[in-house]
């Protein structure tokens, strides 16, 4: 999947997230948190400013929510606090990548 496809998938996901809130039968819906498909599960975490983090994993993998929260902490530490990082641009922070890989691999 190349970068164009990633962008399309991301924008599609953003709209789906918003539409799912509209279709809620009850007040106070904050969008899709878990999508279960045949061969994978997709967990999504939405931070307060609206940034969405999602992870694709094997069906039934436990503790994905805590992983997503931890990744959010890494994001605030290594990306947002990085003075050279421009908001809304693609993330190219080495420390973030290293810590992210470590976090995902230690989970296996």
């Amino acid at each position: 999947m190349d970068t164009n496809d990633s962008l399309r998938v991301a924008s599609l996901w953003h709209s789906m997230h918003a539409i799912s809130q509209q279709l809620s039968p009850v007040n106070g819906c904050s969008g899709i948190e878990l999508l279960e498909a045949d061969t994978f599960d997709l967990h999504c975490f939405q931070s307060l400013p609206g940034t969405k983090f999602f992870v694709v994993c094997e069906p039934g993998t436990p503790h994905m929510e805590s992983l997503l929260r931890y990744i959010y902490e890494l994001y605030t530490d290594y990306v947002l606090k990085n003075p050279f990082y421009e908001i809304e641009m693609p993330i190219r922070c080495e420390l973030f990548d290293i810590n992210l890989t470590q976090a995902v691999q230690s989970d296996r």
Partner: protein
Amino acid sequence: MQFFGGSEISPSPPVPTVSGNNAHMMYVFNRNGVCLLYKEWNRPLHTLNPQQDHKLMFGLLFSLKSLTAKMDPVNADKGNLGVPQLPGQGCSFHSFRTNTYKLSFMETPSGIKIILVTHPKTGDLRESLKYIYGLYVEYVVKNPIYNPGSPIKSELFNTALDQYVRSIS
């Protein structure tokens, strides 16, 4: 996923692991997006008028299927995003959950889509959806007066469906 051509509805409907809360609503669409059935048991919030609501629901499901087919980490050959997929082609999702509801989805090879919106703590409803499809086949498809592609008005179907959904809640 197999759809058996048994001539009777399975005698013992499966009881999934539901934590005792009522189903909110249910939709049945055909392959052209026509809403064949919409049933509501518990829906405090109505955001849109019924036509828009049905269209939005169908559109959401169509796009989500497209997204899951593209994001599938297992299959090597995927179509481009947005290309309509045949029923059963590509990876499809069977449910999604938000903090206020859980939506369970099933698509049959004939393109009939059954959607059930329930409480978020509901368990896996795939077997229940298959049973509901069985009810649809018995009471709707086998009804000689029923015109395929038109909204379902069968009393027997509605009663059986009501009974079953209340029993799993």
